[in-house]
Symmetry: C2
Subunit: 149 residues, 2 copies
């Protein structure tokens, strides 16, 4: 993580954030540089963890899924380090983020449209978190904009 | 959107969600099928909007950015269709999602670490939303798990 992020790194990241499937050749042409340089910079960004993942943003609705966000506030005595492993292990839990502010923990669940089954999954996940002070449940109905950088 | 999602579509999506840079050839090998078939199915998933985007998940911290989520509840008389365009246009706003439940609107901001500047951006974005009943501000400090499917 000590490596400096250069101007070219930022430009590569911006392009990949719009289309992660651009080839080294396409990126090199867009940036007026060589494939070798692009490949070397990307390798480095991956190794440093600056690039965590190349992924796809699906339309959950079209796939028959429901996307639920749990915004969780825990009591001050709760140690999140002890809570997080059980959440990470859970296949219904797709995103786990530590946070500061209104919520201490943000958990995304992707589940079936069947509301009874979804309720079962949400309460199963909630039960893994002791000392919950507040739980905000939000059902995403439409993603109007999705950008990264 | 009327096209049926097949078993092979789901398998392609799962693989791409773990690594969106897999080539047609690699996907075909992993799935025991042809490059042509993979390419045809992906074209279709893109055209149908089942695949919204191929993107990169960066470490905002390493890039010197702060990732803030606004969970917004608006008063019942607010028409979100009138609010959303101004949010979508704003370059500081990366994600805009309509929602049901604790929040009606989920807005992600990626801003600078400088807290004064960040405050200015957050209030600028908030002012674009009339009739806010509740605003939950959450600062993401660490993404422990990020999966899509």
């Amino acid at each position: 993580m000590a490596d400096k992020i250069t101007e070219i790194d930022l430009r590569i990241l911006k392009l990949l954030s719009k289309n992660a499937r651009l080839t080294y050749r396409e990126l090199a042409e867009m940036l007026g540089t060589t494939r070798q340089r692009v490949s070397r910079r990307m390798d480095r960004l991956e190794r440093n963890g600056v690039i965590k993942k190349y992924t796809v943003i699906p339309d959950y609705e079209a796939l028959g899924y429901v996307h639920v966000i749990l915004g969780i506030t825990v009591k001050p005595n709760v140690n999140l380090d002890e809570v997080i492993p059980a959440l990470v292990e859970d296949d219904n839990v797709k995103i786990v983020q530590r946070a500061l502010g209104s919520h201490n923990l943000v958990v995304h669940i992707v589940g079936p449209k069947d509301m009874r089954e979804l309720e079962r999954i949400i309460s199963e996940v909630s039960r893994k978190i002791p000392g919950v002070d507040k739980l905000d449940i939000t059902f995403i109905t439409d993603t109007v904009k999705f950008e990264v950088l």
